[in-house]
Every structure is written in structure tokens, then in C-alpha cells.
């Protein structure tokens, strides 16, 4: 076998036999991890602007979501490469192809509700994005599905946090054991913020 030549990849062969459109799957994953990475960046800015009595009250929960979104990037990127995909070489292209909008700081950021609405929008887009990957892989690509559904679980928890903060509906959530715990995706080995 010559250098650079890839042998038959059984992990891909079984996906194709199961009817998975691997090219389309790689495209969706790249968009999904793009959204996680850009969200991590923009959440950093949003968190910095959680100030004052109300802002400080939600800063830690924003930090949990921020770190867990980065964990989602870490959890899924290795799978992208296993599937034969890769991250774009240019981060500008990576950001432009992301599946979700940039979570820009709103002009009226002093109103903490305005930041919460942007956070909620970002989480809801992520749920739709990973839902696409789950739908495509359920019962066909067990490994990708396993990672994507774990990410989905945490995104749904993030959505619940921000809905509860905005609407004050009753909440089953208390707090993570440590910042960015990622109770679901943590087992993927992507935790880098302990």
C-alpha cells in the first residue's frame, strides 16, 4: 500500500449498505460543528456582557452553555474525519458554511432579556441542526447517531434553561456539577475545561 492510500474502510462500507448518503452526512456534520464553534465564540462575547445584578445572575449558566457547545465541536469533529470528511482549511469558509446564524451581541445588550433571546435562538437552531443528523443516521449509522443524540440532549437542556429564564416557567434544572460538565457528550473524551 502506497503512502496516502486508504484501505477499504469497513466502517464506511456498512453505512453505505445501510443506505446512508455519506457525502450528505459529512456536509451536515460540518455545518453542525461549524455552528458549535462559532456559537462558542459568540457566547464568549455574550457572556462578557452579562453584567449588573441581573447579568451576573445568568453569567454562569451562559458559561455552561458556552463550554458545552465547544465540547460538542470536540465530540463530533473526530467522527467527521472517520467518515472521510475534514474541516475547511479557511476558518472564514468554516464560519460562512455553519448551519446556524452567528449569535451576535444585540445593540441593546444592557437589557439582559435581549441577550437571552439571542441565546435561545442559537440553541433552537442547534436542535434543528443535530435533529437532521439524528434523522439521517437513526438505525443506520449507530456511531454518528450516538454522538449526535447526546449533543441534542444537551442542546435541549440549554434551550430549557433559556426558556425558563425568559418565561419563568417551572424548571427541572438546577445546576451542573462543574462548569461545562456535558453530562451526555462528556464521555466522548472532548472535555478540555475541567
Amino acid at each position: 500500500m502506497t503512502k496516502g492510500e486508504v484501505p477499504n474502510v469497513v466502517g464506511l462500507e456498512v453505512l453505505k449498505k445501510n443506505g446512508v448518503n455519506v457525502e450528505k452526512l459529512k456536509e451536515l456534520i460540518t455545518k453542525g460543528v461549524g455552528a458549535e464553534f462559532t456559537t462558542y465564540y459568540y457566547y464568549t462575547i455574550l457572556r462578557m456582557h452579562c453584567t449588573g445584578l441581573e447579568g451576573e445572575g445568568i453569567k454562569e449558566i451562559v458559561e455552561d452553555a458556552r463550554i458545552e457547545d465547544r465540547n460538542h465541536f470536540e465530540a463530533m469533529v473526530p467522527r467527521l474525519y472517520e467518515l472521510g470528511g475534514n474541516l475547511p482549511k479557511d476558518i472564514r469558509k468554516f464560519a460562512d458554511q455553519a448551519g446556524c446564524p452567528d449569535a451576535y451581541l444585540p445593540d441593546n445588550w444592557e437589557d439582559i432579556n435581549s441577550i437571552l433571546k439571542v441565546l435561545l435562538e442559537a440553541e433552537q437552531c442547534a436542535i434543528r441542526s443535530w435533529g437532521e443528523v439524528c434523522d439521517m443516521t437513526a438505525g443506520k449509522d449507530h456511531r454518528t447517531y450516538d454522538i449526535a443524540q447526546k449533543i441534542m440532549q444537551e442542546e435541549i437542556e440549554h434551550e430549557a434553561w433559556f426558556i425558563e429564564l425568559i418565561s419563568k416557567r417551572p424548571s427541572g434544572h438546577f445546576r451542573r456539577k462543574f462548569v461545562g460538565q456535558s453530562p451526555h457528550t462528556g464521555s466522548q473524551g472532548g472535555l478540555i475545561h475541567l
Binding site: K24, K31, G99, P101, D102, P106, S114, K117, S129, E132
Partner: protein, 123 residues
């Protein structure tokens, strides 16, 4: 089975595709959105040209299919993007960069109906 782009393939019964409905079907691992709007059949790639979401999860607005992911609207008969919805939910939100917003048009497929069966060709 290997599919030819020039051949047409049965995808559903005509009775399954009543007016103002759409459904996802697959030919050779290509997901296709086939539907009937105002009595007229259409078929297009099920993947949204913007960010790849499943258009079958969307809804109609006139002759347009509305993507559930970002609200973009495409004419199901011409394939053209006709409404590039803004991300801004409030005046104080900053609009997205045009590189992120831009989208191609729908990929349309040939669709026909014969003897109670709907056919699609991948050309």
C-alpha cells in the same frame, strides 16, 4: 439496483399525494421532495440549498416551500429563492453576513403521473 438519471421511477401512488401535501421519497440515496400544490405536481431535492435542512419538514406559502430551519422560501415550480428571511427578530439584532445568508436555488426533478402512480426522474 443502480438508477439511471434518464429513467423515471415510481415513488408513490397518486392517491398518497393529495392536493397541498408533500412527502419525502428516496431514489438511490437521493432524498426527493415530491408534492402537489394547487393540483400541480412538483419534485425537487429535499435538501435546502441554504444549509441542507430537510424541506419535507417545512410548509407551503403560496407556491413556495418554507424551510423550517431558517425560513427561506423557494418556488417549488421554478426552484427560485423568493424570500431570504432575515435572522433579525428584533430591531436591535445585527443582521447576518451576506456570505452566510446567500443560497442557491432548488434542484428540480422531472415528475409525472400515469395510471395512478407518480414518477420522478433524477435529471
Amino acid at each position: 439496483m443502480k438508477y439511471s438519471k434518464t429513467d423515471r421511477y415510481p415513488v408513490c401512488k397518486s392517491s398518497e399525494l393529495v392536493d397541498d401535501t408533500m412527502m419525502k421519497v428516496s431514489i438511490d440515496m437521493v432524498d426527493i421532495l415530491v408534492g402537489r400544490r394547487n393540483g400541480k405536481l412538483f419534485a425537487c431535492d429535499n435538501s435546502c440549498p441554504h444549509k441542507g435542512a430537510s424541506l419535507s419538514k417545512g410548509c407551503f406559502n403560496g407556491d413556495r416551500v418554507v424551510c423550517y430551519m431558517h425560513g427561506y422560501e423557494y418556488n417549488v415550480f421554478t426552484g427560485k429563492l423568493e424570500n431570504m428571511k432575515s435572522w433579525k427578530k428584533e430591531d436591535t439584532w445585527v443582521e447576518q453576513d451576506m456570505e452566510w445568508r446567500k443560497s442557491g436555488d432548488l434542484i428540480l426533478y422531472s415528475v409525472s403521473e400515469e395510471d395512478g402512480t407518480v414518477y420522478v426522474a433524477l435529471k
